[in-house]
C-alpha cells in the first residue's frame, strides 16, 4: 500500500457534504480539494485543486435537492477526473438519480434511470456504489460494475436496539405497498417477527386513494418498512389504516428520506410515532420542522464499501452485516 500510484482521493459535490465528511472521517482521510460552484449564468463549474493522476477516485453525491444541478456537478466532476488521468473513478451515489423512472409505463414515457446510467458511463465512471436501488434491476442498465448496498443490516440493528416493544416480540413489520413486500418479509424473517401488508389503489402519481390491510396488527407496534419516502402521502395513510386496525404505535423506517413537498406537515399531522430515515440524503433542516424524524447513520457501510473496493476485497459481507 506504499506505492503512490495506488492512493485514494475522495471528492464530494455540494449535495451532501455532511455525509462525505462522515465517510472521510471513518476512512481517516481529508476530502480532496475541489471547488464546485455555479456561475452567474447558472452553469456548473468544477475546479480541481490537487492532482488525481493515476489515483483511485471516489466522488460522493446523492440524488437529492436540486437533482439536475447535483447530477451535472457529479458528471462534470467525473469528467474532470477522467480528463486528469485518474486511474479509476467510482461514483458513490447513496440515493440514485431518477430511480423511480425506470420503466416505460405508458406511451412515450422516458426511462430516465437508464439515461442517467448512460450519462455516468459516458462521463467516465468506472464503477458505481449505491444503496437500496428502487428496483435492483437498474443495475442491469449499466455496462460497468454497480454495487447495490443494503440499508437492511442497519435497519435490523435499529429495530433491535431502538424499537421499544421489540424484546416482548410485540412488533409487526408492515409493507406499505405490494411492491415492498419482499423487502419487508426479508426483515420480518431475519427478526422472526410477524408480517402484514397494506395494499393501495393508486389513481395517479403522488396520490393514493384507498388502503386495505392484510394481516393482524391489533395491540402491537407496527413498523412500516420502505425504500423511500417522498411526499409521505402513502406513509401517513398507511399509519392511519394501521391505527384504525388496532396498532398501538406506528413507526416507519425508510432508507431514502426525500421528504419533498408537504412531507413534514403530513408526518406531523399523522398517526406516526416516529419516522426513521438514513442519512443518504441530508435532512437536518427537515428535522427542525418535524421532531418525529430520527436518523440512522449509514456512513460506516458506505465507507467500508469504499475501503473494500479500494483494497480489492469482497463487498458482500456488507449485505448482511453492519461494520463495527
Amino acid at each position: 500500500m506504499d506505492a503512490p500510484s495506488n492512493s485514494i482521493k475522495i471528492f464530494a459535490g455540494n449535495a451532501h457534504m455532511g455525509l462525505a465528511k462522515l465517510i472521510a472521517r471513518r476512512l481517516n482521510l481529508d476530502l480532496a480539494k475541489a471547488a464546485v460552484l455555479k456561475y452567474t449564468n447558472n452553469e456548473t463549474s468544477v475546479t480541481i485543486g490537487e492532482s488525481v493522476r493515476d489515483e483511485d477516485v471516489y466522488i460522493i453525491q446523492p440524488g437529492c435537492g436540486d437533482i439536475n444541478d447535483n447530477l451535472m456537478e457529479l458528471l462534470i466532476m467525473i469528467h474532470a477526473c477522467k480528463t486528469a488521468s485518474a486511474r479509476r473513478i467510482t461514483a458513490v451515489i447513496p440515493c440514485f438519480f431518477y430511480a423511480r423512472q425506470d420503466k416505460k409505463d405508458k406511451s412515450r414515457a422516458p426511462i430516465s434511470a437508464k439515461l442517467i446510467a448512460n450519462m455516468l458511463t459516458v462521463a467516465g465512471a468506472n464503477h458505481v456504489i449505491t444503496m437500496d436501488l428502487h428496483a435492483s434491476q437498474i443495475q442491469g442498465f449499466f455496462n460497468i460494475p454497480v454495487d447495490n448496498l443494503y440499508a437492511e443490516p442497519s435497519t435490523l440493528k435499529y429495530i433491535r436496539e431502538c424499537i421499544p416493544d421489540y424484546k416482548e416480540g410485540k412488533v409487526v413489520i408492515v409493507s406499505p405497498d405490494a411492491g415492498g413486500a419482499k423487502r419487508a418479509t426479508s426483515i420480518a424473517d431475519r427478526l422472526d417477527l410477524e408480517f402484514a401488508l397494506i395494499h393501495k389503489e393508486r389513481k395517479k402519481a403522488n396520490f393514493v386513494s384507498r388502503m386495505v390491510l392484510v394481516g393482524d396488527v391489533k395491540g402491537k407496534t407496527a413498523v412500516l418498512v420502505d425504500d423511500m419516502a417522498d411526499t409521505c402521502g402513502t406513509l401517513g395513510k398507511a399509519a392511519q389504516t394501521l391505527v384504525e386496525n388496532g396498532a398501538t404505535k406506528v413507526y416507519a423506517i425508510v432508507t431514502h428520506g426525500i421528504l419533498s413537498g408537504k412531507a413534514c406537515e403530513v408526518i406531523n399531522n399523522s398517526a406516526l410515532t416516529q419516522v426513521v430515515v438514513t442519512n443518504t440524503i441530508p435532512h437536518e433542516d427537515k428535522k427542525k420542522l418535524c421532531p418525529k424524524i430520527a436518523t440512522i447513520d449509514v456512513s460506516p457501510t458506505l465507507a467500508e464499501a469504499i475501503r473494500r473496493t479500494h483494497n480489492g476485497e469482497s463487498v458482500s459481507y456488507l449485505f448482511h452485516n453492519v461494520p463495527a
Partner: protein
C-alpha cells in the same frame, strides 16, 4: 409538411412558436414539469414513430434543468422509434468556459457570484472531515503530505473543467442524430460531436441589421471587444467593406488595462461579439472607445445571456444601443433596459429545419437567407 414534429423545451417556447409559424406547424403537444422531489417529468402526447423530431431548447435560465430536460426528451423519442432526432440548441450551453477561476492578475473572474466565492477556499484549504479526528496511522494508504499553499515549488495548478466535450457526448449518448446551433463560441466545438452539427451563422442577419438600421454605416468602424473575436469582426467588416478596430486586454501585465488598435476618433463604433454574459468586457471596451473619441457605440451580439448584474452594467455604460438575437428569451431584459433591441433568428432556424427535413443543402442558405426574412 409530413412526418415532422417540433417539440419545445421549457427554456424558450416563444422561439419555438416563431419557428413553427414560419413552417406552418403547431408545436408538438407535451407536458414538461417537475415532480415534487425536483426530478424532471417529460410526457409527450404526440406520436413520434417514424418521424423527424426537432426539439428546440436553448442553453439559458436554469441551464442544468434545461439540459437534462432536453436529454430526457431525446431519450424518450429515441426509445419510441423516432426516425431522426434533431436538437435545435440556438445558444449552446457550456460552450464558453474559462480554464481557471482566477484571472491572470489573481482576481476571481466576473462570472463567479459573490455568494459562491467562499467555495474557492476549498482549493487552498484542507477540507477537514467533521469533528476532530486523531490521525494515528493512515489505515488505507500513505497519502503523502499535501504541499502547503504558499509552497510554490510543488503547487498544483488549479484548473477548471471544460465541460463542453462532456455535454456533447451526453447529447449524442441520449440519442440525438443531428445538432443545430448558432454561432458556436469555438467552431472546433463541432469536432466534439460524433454526429453532424449544423453551426448556423448570424452574419447575414447582422449584416442586414447594420444596413437597415445604422445610418451612414459605411463610415462606422466594426470593433472586436477582445482578440478572440477578431476573426468574427473582420469577416463581417469585409462583407460590408467597413473599417476594423480591435480592443485587446493586456492580461500579461499585472493590471486590467485595455489597449485599442485602430482609429475610432469621431466615428460610430459597432462592437461585435458572439456572447454577452456578465457584460464586464464589453462595457469596459465601450468605455475605452469613448475615451478614444468614438461618438456613438452600438453593440451587436448573438447570444445575450446577461446574467448577474449585466443589465445594470449595460444601463450604466456608454453603450448607446445593444442589439441581440432572441436565441435566449429577451422579454425580461428589454423591460429592464431600454437600450436593448432584438433581432429574430427564427426564420433562419425554420428554413434550416425545412431543408434538413427535405434533405436539401443547408450551406446554400447562407447566400440566399435574405429572401426568407421580411
Amino acid at each position: 409538411m409530413k412526418n415532422i414534429v417540433v417539440f419545445s423545451g421549457s427554456s424558450h417556447p416563444h422561439l419555438t412558436e416563431l419557428i413553427c409559424n414560419q413552417l406552418g406547424l403547431v408545436p408538438g403537444k407535451c407536458n414538461l414539469s417537475k415532480f415534487s422531489n425536483q426530478e424532471t417529468n417529460v410526457e409527450l402526447f404526440e406520436s413520434v414513430r417514424g418521424k423527424d423530431i426537432f426539439i428546440v431548447q436553448s442553453g439559458c435560465g436554469h441551464v442544468n434543468d434545461n439540459l437534462i430536460e432536453l436529454l430526457i426528451m431525446v431519450s424518450a423519442c429515441k426509445i419510441t422509434s423516432a426516425k431522426r432526432i434533431v436538437c435545435v440548441i440556438p445558444s449552446f450551453p457550456y460552450s464558453r468556459l474559462p480554464n481557471s477561476p482566477y484571472t491572470k492578475n489573481g482576481k476571481t473572474i466576473s462570472r463567479i457570484p459573490e455568494s459562491e466565492k467562499s467555495k474557492l477556499e476549498n482549493l487552498t484549504k484542507t477540507v477537514e472531515p467533521s469533528e476532530s479526528k486523531q490521525k494515528k496511522n493512515v489505515s488505507i494508504t500513505n497519502l503523502g503530505e499535501i504541499p502547503a499553499s504558499n509552497d510554490h515549488s510543488g503547487q498544483y495548478k488549479h484548473w477548471t473543467c471544460r465541460a463542453g466535450n462532456l455535454v456533447a457526448k451526453m447529447i449524442v449518448e441520449a440519442g440525438a442524430d443531428n445538432i443545430m446551433t448558432m454561432d458556436l463560441h469555438d467552431p472546433q466545438f463541432q469536432g466534439f460531436f460524433d454526429i453532424p452539427v449544423d453551426n448556423l451563422s448570424s452574419q447575414t442577419l447582422m449584416t442586414k441589421y447594420i444596413k437597415m438600421n445604422i445610418p451612414d454605416y459605411q463610415q462606422a468602424v466594426i470593433t472586436s471587444p477582445d482578440a478572440g473575436g477578431a476573426k468574427r469582426a473582420t469577416a463581417l467588416a469585409e462583407s460590408l467593406k467597413m473599417a476594423v478596430a480591435l480592443v485587446h486586454k493586456d492580461r500579461g501585465f499585472h493590471n486590467d488595462e485595455m489597449t485599442l488598435v485602430g482609429d475610432v476618433k469621431d466615428k460610430v463604433c459597432i462592437l461585435i461579439d458572439d456572447i454577452i454574459d456578465t457584460s464586464s468586457t464589453i462595457t469596459k471596451a465601450a468605455q475605452l472607445l469613448v475615451d478614444n473619441g468614438a461618438k456613438k457605440i452600438y453593440a451587436l451580439i448573438t447570444h445575450a445571456i446577461l446574467s448577474g448584474d449585466a443589465v445594470q452594467r449595460i444601463n450604466d455604460s456608454v453603450i448607446d444601443e445593444l442589439i441581440v438575437s432572441n436565441s435566449v428569451p429577451q422579454d425580461e431584459h428589454v423591460k429592464q433596459c431600454k437600450k436593448i433591441k432584438v433581432f429574430d433568428i427564427a426564420p433562419v432556424f425554420a428554413e434550416t429545419i425545412r431543408r434538413i427535413h427535405n434533405g436539401e443543402s443547408v450551406s446554400s442558405q447562407y447566400r440566399v437567407s435574405d429572401i426568407y426574412m421580411e
